[in-house]
Amino acid sequence: MEAHVARNLLVAGLALAAGLAAWRVRRSPFWSERLAEVAWRRPLALAVIAGFAAVAALDTVSWRGAPEGAGLTEPRSALVRVFPDEFREASYSAPFADVEFYGGAPLRHPGRHVLGTDILGRDVLLLTLQGAKVALLVGGLTCLIAVPLALLFGVPAGWFGGRLDDLVFFLVSTLASMPSILLLIALVTAIGRGPVQVCFALAVTGWVGFCRLARAETLKIRELDYVQAARALGVPTRRILWRHVLPNLTHLIVITFVLTFSGLVLSEAVLSWLGLGLDGSWGQMIDQARDELSRAPVIWWNLGAASAALFTLILAVNRVGDAVRDVLDPRTVRERA
């Protein structure tokens, strides 16, 4: 199957999963109440995140155009199609400018580059929007790897205790004792720079905190009355874990997901500076534009756009994350009561 077709299916799958989740939330009074509260508190931030998600989806869905000449054309995403064809210049140009920044030659698309163009003449607005896909990929895929990993080790450790707990504790301590940035770099150098590999490396360095949390929560849940009753009744362990323990961890999962998302995107920016990040990310744009501040006149639009986009997404996620934690975390809930 071709790559772009697989990506289209992925987007469709994600949309389906989102729909499914929404339906289940509606069915559960606990969740719909909580999430409605979050939405009421942070409508702007949620709208921003939704906006970025929509842009990312638009950039992932792609298809080939009509064939030209003797061969197939390259598939282009919906986002790219919004912009005019061959929307490039020779080199730098300022936002809304009619001429090139250096040399003053007339542009191919005068006045149409809202955020100017970069050194290769690519439209900065388009590049910034494409960065959203990378940011969401980093945050989402990493959490998707880290959370199950943490649960896989943390829950059995808390439930069974004893030797298993000791082993997991050992593993966790070992990983946590290594400076995370060092571990990250070593991993990426070892397994490669592709998106999946980088997300895997980020997950490996970041799952420890949640593992500890999951373990602690599992210990508490184990002592709850109805769980003890289920054990006494001889319900198989697997069922207990699946039907009683995991659902009780869901709120923690959500909190962790949202709170670590922003940290991951910021970590990727640092990785880009070290040359190990993902292509097309905002971190890479910032790295490329690093020297542009020292020109005279200053070239600010490249760096400014990427920084602004990064900042906006992170801020929105942080604000939503705070609200989510306030609403879902049992400790803070108790305090407000």
Partner: protein, 667 residues
Amino acid sequence: MRLAAALALLALACGNNPYPGADDALRVLYTPYSEPPKTLDPQVAYATVDHDVLSNVYETLLEYHYLHRPYELIPALVTAVPEPRRLDGGGVAYAFELRPGIAYGADPCFALGTPGATSRELVASDVAFGLQRIADPAVGSPVLVTFAKIRGLAAFGERLAQRRAEQPGFAALRIDEQYRRAGPVEGLRVSDPHRLEIVLDAPYPQILYWFAMPFTSPVPWEAVAWYDGAAGRPLFPEVAVGTGPFRLARYDKRSRIVLDRNPDWWGVRHPEWKAPAATYPSDGEPDDAARGVLDPHLAGHPLPFLDRIEMRLEKETIPAFAKFMQGYYDRSAIPKESFDRTVSEGRLSPEMEAGGMRLERAVRPGVYYLGFNMIDPVVGAPAGERGRKLRQAMSLAVDVPEFLRVFLNRRGIPAQSPIPPGIFGHDPEYRNPYRSLDLERARALLAEAGYQGGFDPATGRPLRISFDTPDTTVQSRLRFQFLIDGWKRLGLDVELAATSYNQFRDKVRNGAYQLFFWGWVADYPDPENFLFLLWSEMAQTKSGGPNTANFSDPRFDALFHELKDRENDARRAALIREALALLESERPWIELFHPEDYALVHGWLDGLKPMGLPVPVWKYYAVEPEARAEARAAWNRPVRWPAYALAGLAAAGLAPALATWRRERRA
């Protein structure tokens, strides 16, 4: 209250001068370097930074005249540049006469030879010792291939290795004892303390250029023996013990390197010799006087002019340039980012001229090129005519003038052949028919090669070619993307494979690459130093040599063999023309450009003329400390008002809350 006072104090004490005020009156040169030197061992060091440091401490028998172009050899440690003497049996001999009375800079290592001594005289056997080290496998010198032309030198190295392996305790002997026991080298004859004769097996006129390079620096055996890492002493590659005009005073190579003036330098001790290498030249090129490098306070004066050289590590070019603009470095390469601010139409901007700065430009004798792996089945020789047309087509799709404009601000000359200007064999009128942008012709060639529209008939998709590079920096990706976009216009799909250096070397070793980007700067000013990169004996995948294109053409080899050791005569020129014509059509390389260096120099730094070759130049520089101190003070007044404004804002922000609190308290 206290916090406010502390902040006010901080505001008053701030300043961006990185150097202590005590140095302001000294004749110090401040210069940045971009990466720590790998080694200061003259027989091993190959990087520019390494040479920048050690060439001021270690001297060579010959040097280049500072101002004359084309480059001309002058005697340095010797009294005259030797002439070759033909021997019976085909060998060639050169006799070097050392100047008597040259002493090494003071160093405790000389106590090994004579108890209590801190220095001694330079003798011919020190030169021989240095050359023997090149052959010593434990030293790991990269230039043995060249010096193996000295009769018996390679055999000496083998004997040394053999004895170390076979005789127990041999390797523990002191180094001079080891060399003595391994037996003499037939081609190195020391007949008296100041005379060394070297004998080559076959004529090689370029050998004299090598005697202007640090590889041939004399080295005292005491330094090699003493600096062995025992008893907390540093290793030899971390020190420099030489006869030069400067001494290594401080070597924190990851941050700061300091060179101090050597008061016992033979140039200072014996000004009456008026030695060419110890006196600023009095004549040069026609426009040197206009450039200010022949000013009366320099010309004919004894060297050096500086008291100290302070080098600081600056990994990034932008902060280094910013500090230059603030007056804290005396010279700076212009990063392209600031180029248009400083240079337009090849001249300085009025702002810079008002600041007293000068622009220096020089073509570096080098070439940057894209190479094809000639043993690859798709782009190389096995593809025959098809491959050749593909290479020609790709060569016609690279727009070098535009590349230079976008990435280097036109600091470079588009290259028509591997040989740069200033080197014999370069013809300024020569135009390579495949080195201009001609997309129509390129498309036609591609069609002839069977890749109509760039499509590979075998797959129905655009032909995929991999572009392999060990450079993963952001800047390089942008440049490569530019090139790739050019080929995209032909319909070709060139894919960038930027890997780690290790992985790139693996690919090259296994011949698993197709297209790569490389640069080569001359070791010495001779065309052989460029054309040998395409000699089949140097093929990378076969023998690990620098011919990374694996170009192997018997016609080229024959031409090269004949021209490489010739004198610069008409026949040599003709051979070179023929060789270049061959390269034209075969296209193992797409020659890109010859780099040009632009350097900005402050008005208070005199005596600077770009060399382009690794040569000790700092002894020719002079600075005017008062002018510098004045300029620095004027350019670096701190801007204080934002601090006061911020403090005011903070106070204003908190005032209402404090007022409320006070009120509540009283209530």
